[in-house]
Amino acid sequence: MKIEILGPCLSVSEIQELTAVNSARFRDEVNAALTGSTMLIEVNLSKTRFMDSSGLGALFALYRATAQRDGVTLRLLSPMPEIQQLLELTQMQQLFEIVRR
């Protein structure tokens, strides 16, 4: 997993999978990287091949953390079709702004 801070944008990428194994680390590391100047969080899911309910829980925790900060936007970038299906099955696609690049 790679976390970059590009000005007001926090970019999280190169996530191979988001499961019970690494969801706590994902949550902790992204929360640690959040600063007062962060206005945009982009989670790039283009390389994420597998996600389970723990991974969905980590994304939801990030959504809640973002909702508590005024003016901060959370985006999911280019999820693979399988991950898009999982988001639709759990109706979580309604929570997130999903962008394809």
Partner: protein, 293 residues
């Protein structure tokens, strides 16, 4: 009159449909594809039907039985490859035998549903779903007494359990012994096969849910085929194995412990092994001696 039924062999466009058995035995509206065809052919006068199965002949035989339920005689023939209609006719239909159904029902390849040749089943998942939705009004034949048309365009199995606060939107089909929980929304264009369970506040729209499939609470199955833990988006052919059983999973038992097939029929009991058989024989002999001193 006689007829030939050709079972479709593997179809690369729809691999998930053949995951649990030959395509001829895939469950459609509570019965297998071959059974729908046999019922149709019996209704138009067939009395002897030869089923040519190039894949899983034993499973096809188990699915269709001996034909007594339709009043026909069925013979299942194993073939190495799926024959064309002409090949099947040349091979299995004697030239001088006139006692056959008129064409095109004399030799039928089950690549579509009865009466819908314009809607192929196995060209893609989208074509499969479109064919099922189009055929839904025809699925309730006079021989099928376990499903009734509850409201126009809404068919519900007689042993299905539907919550009074579930919302059913036509057209939809809720199979026998299926269950729809409180606040769930089923339809439009939703098909729940037998014993499917849709939990409370879940929604199923533009989708087919296979038999013995559990759809978890508050989940949303749309534009998909859901069977066991496999979810296939019929628009994109994308498939997903859902890792968490509380979202989507199979309710059927392990095949090693199964006592019923996927239509709920009792499977044959395993034969008694040699040592047990000997024990039973000895006990019977002893009982015979004791009853006849």
């Amino acid at each position: 009159m006689k007829a030939l039924l050709i079972c479709p062999s593997e179809r690369p466009a729809v691999p998930h449909l053949a995951a649990s058995g030959p395509l001829a035995t895939i469950p459609i509206f509570g019965d297998c594809l071959a059974c729908h065809w046999i019922e149709h052919l019996a209704a138009i006068g067939a009395r002897k039907i030869r089923v040519i199965a190039s894949h899983g002949a034993d499973q096809v035989l188990s699915g269709v039985g001996d034909g007594a339920r339709w009043g026909v005689q069925i013979e299942v023939v194993a073939a190495n490859v799926e024959p064309t209609r002409k090949e099947a006719s040349d091979c299995y239909r004697p030239a001088g035998d006139a006692d056959w159904l008129p064409a095109p029902n004399d030799v039928v390849c089950m690549s579509h549903l009865p009466g819908c040749p314009e809607l192929p089943l196995f060209e893609s998942y989208a074509s499969w779903f479109a064919a099922l939705v189009a055929w839904m009004p025809r699925a309730l034949t006079p021989a099928r007494i376990r499903v009734t048309e509850f409201r126009p365009g809404i068919w519900v199995g007689s042993r299905a359990r539907v919550s009074p606060i579930a919302k059913l939107i036509a057209p939809c089909w809720i199979g026998d012994q299926a269950s729809v929980g409180a606040g769930a929304v089923v339809g439009p264009c939703a098909i729940l096969e037998d014993r499917a369970v849709v939990e409370g506040k879940a929604s199923v729209a533009q989708s087919w849910v296979g038999p013995d499939t559990f759809v978890g609470p508050m989940t949303s199955v749309s534009n998909s085929l859901a069977w066991g833990s496999t979810l296939v988006d019929w628009r994109t052919d994308s498939s997903l194995h859902v890792p968490d059983p509380f979202l989507l999973s199979s309710l059927s038992k392990s095949p090693y412990a199964a006592t019923t097939d996927r239509f709920g029929r009792t499977l044959a009991k395993p034969e008694i092994s040699g040592s047990q058989s000997g024990l039973v024989t000895a006990l019977r002999a002893r009982m015979g001696r004791e009853s006849n001193p």
